[in-house]
């Protein structure tokens, strides 16, 4: 029997494994994809440092090698069953199951599917993309910044809160990192294409973290990014592929129209589909927003309602890399004291 089985080889899972290894416990990571790193594989540079995401992933790859942590790639955990002796049986897509004293759910989040907000035209109009798509564009490291139709955009608009804080999408919560991600991406667009005008449409700006406000100020003062408090109502396509935005400026309290060459939807976090599977198979408690419910928000934010079942990272809520890694380290301590008590 293994000491700790970790579901998910994103940064939360790996950090938990590394810390546990240092505490002398034996771990096993099960990762669905063919590589570790989770969503960070798709991001270019990270806020607030503007350092490359791959730098973090390289660091962890090195740690895994040094600490010889075992990882099963291309394996999806499908259900968790608590046994009578208090241990867990974890079933996977590969017809193998694992026995473990404790389990960590570090299976992360899913991106909101922007097609569900049809009025914004994602996958209908060519020049509408999501924040995740834009990271991919940045990663390609092209010399010139162009929109999906290959044109250098005169105007780019970022739309905040797509699929978050939106009753109609069924998601009341704030995804926390998309405001600052928009700031980060707006700066990057300006860096790549200084002549492009950049607009951010927000409900209110949530720049809660260390260094976030500074980045916001930089975006305005140094790069001339324009922040408009307003809600986008609908998007239409012009013959040349540019987009007509109809929105409401909620500060000026009037409707207005704007034409842009590219629209970026700041898609939010949603609970990973696996969370529902785990909830159904072992009864782990979930919040109204469908994320995992920690046992105590302040005092035991890694334990769950089931003894021996822990969580780390964005399986509990939208978190930045900074918060994810702290939560993961704390998970290691919680598990260590659970096993050695």
């Amino acid at each position: 029997m293994i000491d700790v089985l970790i579901i998910g080889g994103g940064i939360a899972g790996i950090e938990t494994a590394c810390s546990l290894q240092e505490l002398g416990l034996e771990t096993l990571i099960i990762e669905k994809e063919k590589q570790i790193g989770g969503h960070l594989n798709n991001w270019d540079t990270l806020f607030p440092t503007k350092r490359s995401a791959s730098e973090i992933l390289e660091y962890y790859t090195e740690q895994i090698r040094k600490k010889s942590i075992t990882i099963y790639l291309n394996t999806t955990v499908t259900s968790i069953r608590k046994q009578d002796d208090g241990s867990f049986e974890v079933y996977t897509s590969r017809e193998v199951s694992f026995k473990s004293k404790t389990v960590v759910m570090a299976h992360g989040f899913s991106l909101f599917n922007a097609q569900r907000k049809e009025e914004y035209g994602y996958k209908i109009y060519e020049n509408v993309i999501t924040s995740a798509d834009l990271e991919q564009t940045f990663k390609q490291n092209n010399d010139v910044f162009v929109n999906p139709m290959g044109k250098i955009p005169e105007r780019v608009a970022f739309i905040h809160c797509v699929g978050s804080r939106d009753e109609k999408s069924g998601n009341h919560y704030c995804s926390k990192v998309c405001c600052i991600t928009a700031v980060k991406q707006a700066i990057k667009v300006k860096q790549l294409s200084p002549q492009t005008q950049v607009f951010c449409f927000y409900m209110d700006l949530r720049l809660y973290g260390r260094g976030f406000e500074e980045m916001y100020r930089e975006a305005q003062e140094k790069w001339g990014v324009q922040f408009i408090r307003g809600r986008l109502s609908e998007v239409a396509e012009n013959i040349d592929g540019s987009l007509q935005l109809k929105a409401e400026d909620t500060l000026a309290a009037r409707p207005f129209k704007m034409s842009v060459d590219m629209l970026v939807l700041m898609v939010g976090f949603e609970a990973n589909k696996s969370t529902a599977l785990f909830h159904n198979s072992c009864g782990v408690a979930c919040t109204e927003s469908r994320f995992i419910q920690p046992r105590h928000h302040h005092l035991s934010a890694n334990a769950t309602n089931i003894d021996g079942l822990f969580t780390a990272g964005t399986s509990i809520a939208p978190l930045s890399v900074f918060d994810t890694l702290n939560h993961a380290k704390a998970a290691a301590f919680a598990i260590h004291s659970y096993i050695t008590k």
């Binding site: 569900r116 049809e118 009025e119 035209g121 209908i124 239409a236 007509q244």
Partner: protein, 586 residues
Amino acid sequence: MNDLFIIAPFTIGLIILLGILIGKYVVWTIQLSQIDKLRILHGFFTVRTLRAIREIFWESLLHRNIWKTNPLLGYMHMSFALGWLLLIIVGHIEAYMQASSLSVSPWIPIFFRYFEHEHFYGARFFAHTMDVLLLYVLSGVVLAYGKRINSKLFGIKRTTKLKPKDRISLIALWSIFPLRLFAESATAALHGNGGFLTSGIVFRYLQVTPNIEYTLWVLYSCSLAIFFITLPFTRYMHIPTEVYYIFLKEYGIKLKKQFNSYSKIQVYSCSRCGICIDACQMHHAQISNNQSVYILKNIRDENLTDRKLYNCLLCGRCEDACPVNINLNDLRISQRIKSSKEYNSSYDFLEYSITEKADVVYFAGCMTHLTPGIKKSILTVLDTAGVNYLFLDKDKGACCGRPLMQAGQIEAAKKLIAYNRQQILESGAHTLLVSCPICYKVFRDDYELGQIDIRHHSEYFLELLHNQKITIRNTQKSIVYHDPCELGRGCKVYEQPRELLQSIGTLKKVKHEKVESLCCSGSLGDLSLSMVERNKIKEQTLEVLLKPNPDILATSCPLCKKTFVKGVDIQVKDIAELVAENIQSN
């Protein structure tokens, strides 16, 4: 003994009843509009009157519509109505026969056994016949007791609650026939003039004195009197009013937007059968005070609250289920018009632009603009078919006015209607194409566009297909079609979307279809419903729609599509998108 105490209560009750009824109906009729009064005048000596009488026979006596939804309930209503009427008719014939004359005092047929103990030609036959009829009505009374005790026996999940005055009336009604049975049985025991039921069964082992007999007849008369006097003030007012309503309906009188005396007549025609309660999906969201029967009751009692009034999807399911054919949706809207405070609706910012000329004008409306996939598909189909069209609200446009209409903001709606109407007329088009059933409804009902054909895209695309302007590839996929409320029950378009879909894939049947279809829950008619409540209703609808495991859930309303997309894993498509995806260029 003094016969007065038997005759008087009944007679006084009847006179009061007739007085009030005539008074009310005269006032209501006077309050009708001039045109509606002319309609009655012109319709009176035509077949319409006969048609009305036929409907009264079917509905007010036999209660055919209730039979259709619930046979036991139908039987109960029928036994009261038909049984009682026959008792009166046969009772009169019996009295005439006995007197060998048509001039008998009006109370004689009512208390016949009490007054007539003598044998006359056919007396036995009449005694037995009257007993059969009495037994028939009594069977209905027993069912009515049963329904109050346990409505589930009737397959009704919910029944209406009673007010004190209704209770008095109800008890009076329920005692009339048992008292008649006892009174006639007492007389039969003393004088031997009963039929198979009344002779002996009740008083075989009981000593009956003339005093007991007298008291029973007085009680019988009193119960009739109480029922008559309370009738106009209780739910039973529906009995005469429904008859009157059927005549007016046949003469072609229609419900107006403003609440008037005809609306009142409809309100009073409700029998509180409760059928509309079960039709309403709001129960899935634990809302059980807003259903039509309660609204009508509140209108009568003048204590309708906005909370209840506005908490309704306007899906029209109750209207379809109502056996009395009350225009429940429009009645509710007329109440909203009455209660809504006109807000400052200035649309000065709308500019009149000179419209171009075209054969067809396409109006997308707000909802289609929020579903660009549908909008794009419509344009693809029009372009492929080579239609000469004008996209009226491509860049700027006003709302069609229907959501305002549903909210009771009629003045604001009228401004938008006037704006759009002028532009449509100026285009010189022969056809107006819309891609949203919500717009479609208001264009058909309130725009007065004269010669212009108004078409929903499902109808229009089918015509294009029939005229070989387009051809469609069959995908062989299985499709379930959801009827949008405004297109189906609202505009009675059921077949064209189905025919169109059959050319795209295999159409599967579901449990509630066409006129019985369920609401997606997205309706703009109800702005007070929370998302959580909407989702509960939606889930129940989806359960029905997804039962046959289709590949595609198709609908023909942008709002239905938007509502369903958030709840399912399979593809949710508007008919326009399915046509555009599978269109073949000639």
